[in-house]
Symmetry: C2
Subunit: 267 residues, 2 copies
């Protein structure tokens, strides 16, 4: 048992999809969320820059007394998680391992499509993790850099989004994928639009839900769960505040984000 | 006469469209360009954050010994130029004033559409500057946040871009605009796509070309022109380096950007 808060970070507010999934599974946990909105997105930036930003994000959360950290961002997990594990002793959980386990939970999964930011695809983190765990998989990584801006504009049902999705997904469908890994915390909001485009037998795996399940297992294993007899609180810190970020936060969280505080990093 | 370099800055590499226009008009000038690629974009962030970033950009350029600074970014001009003028004595030239003058160079211009980032539109910088100089104008500001990501993906001729452009422009066309101000340094690359959509009698004014002309006038007026008998050099510094940024730089500049250096700000 440990009543201290959990720390989550992401480049922006997309990681709140992971928070929402975690709150459903772990309602007693206090959560401190850090979104680096002043420097978002991470997905198009270099590994060195992402590692530096992720390090500053972790230090902020540690300074707030968290008991464990969730990297609620695929790009940051892909590029920074190994080095964060080297530098910090606090448990740090990424979104990739859980996603990979969820993909492979289906024994027949064989042809795997992955959509993600350019940074995540280029890191080959998913591709390596999948190939290490099961031989004979056919894996197709598709960078989908325009999906984050479209989701952030809330153009989920716009015909342009359909066209962008088709451009990214048609090649994967032609290759006969049986599983599509949504390897970016923004993408759960696209599930309705994706379902219209994809053949019905393609299984969707999203990194938000799977990460929350993995987090619960880890907290149980490490005896870090909060006492069950309480309602967890959520505290959101962003490095840049604006009305849009607040609106987006509400959308990703599907409820009011409460009062959002401005965070200053790197001091 | 002054042989020192000119400084240009932008949130990313879009401002190189202004550099290209300046190099055509002022071939003898050395140019130091700073792109804050680690923290791009600026267009979706808050005025306070943009002002802080712009201040760090200016300090970097001053530390390199520039004789004048061009804010090659509409969002930074809109939010930060007045305060930069208060804090620094070096000549600092934005993109907005020149664009406004170019719009009004046509005496019959009456119904003006402006497309830009959300930050630029919300600042009302163009709207105020136009209304102050000519009464009776009808001005429509249209935020167009998806255009920058589409240009950065080089999806200029993609059907999704056509659809996005129509969503932004159809309301302006319906309002009978006679002039469209392209108030973002990324947009000159969209001129061919825009020309297909807009009625032929809508005049396009772009902030890159007009800013370069304004810069030449100012350097002449302040006696800051470089000696004419030489070929100016271009030095590019980015706060984050990647292959994509190099490719984009080539596209905006329409030639090789040469060796790009990594800049560290805020020290």
């Amino acid at each position: 048992m440990n009543p201290a808060p959990l720390g989550f970070f992401d480049s922006g507010v997309g990681g709140l999809t992971v928070v929402r999934a975690a709150q459903e599974l772990l309602p007693a946990e206090d959560i401190i969320y850090l979104g680096d909105t002043a420097r978002l997105p991470y997905g198009s930036k270099s590994p060195e820059t992402i590692r530096q930003f992720a390090d500053e994000d972790v230090r902020f959360l540690i300074s707030r007394g968290v008991k464990a950290i969730v990297v609620a961002c695929n790009t940051a997990t892909a590029h920074a998680l190994p080095i964060l594990h080297q530098h910090y002793r606090i448990p740090i959980i990424g979104v990739i391992e859980a996603g990979v386990e969820a993909v492979l939970a289906e024994p027949k999964a064989e042809r795997i499509g992955i959509i993600a930011t350019r940074g995540t695809i280029r890191s080959h983190a998913y591709q390596h993790a999948l190939a290490q765990r099961r031989t004979g998989l056919i894996i197709h990584g598709q960078p989908a850099p325009l999906l984050v801006p479209l989701v952030e504009e809330n153009w989920i049902a716009h015909p342009a989004t359909q066209q962008v999705l088709r451009t990214y997904l048609d090649p994967l469908v032609e290759k006969g994928i049986d599983t599509l890994m949504l390897a970016c915390t923004h993408y759960p909001l696209l599930i309705p639009a994706l379902s219209e485009i994809l053949p019905t037998d393609v299984r969707l795996v999203d990194s938000a839900t799977t990460c929350a399940e993995h987090l619960k297992q880890e907290l149980t294993r490490l005896d870090l769960l909060a006492p069950a007899d309480r309602e967890g609180k959520l505290e959101i810190h962003l490095t840049d505040l604006s009305e849009e970020f607040e609106n987006l936060a509400r959308q990703f969280l599907r409820k009011s984000p409460g009062r959002i505080q401005r965070a200053t990093l790197g001091n």
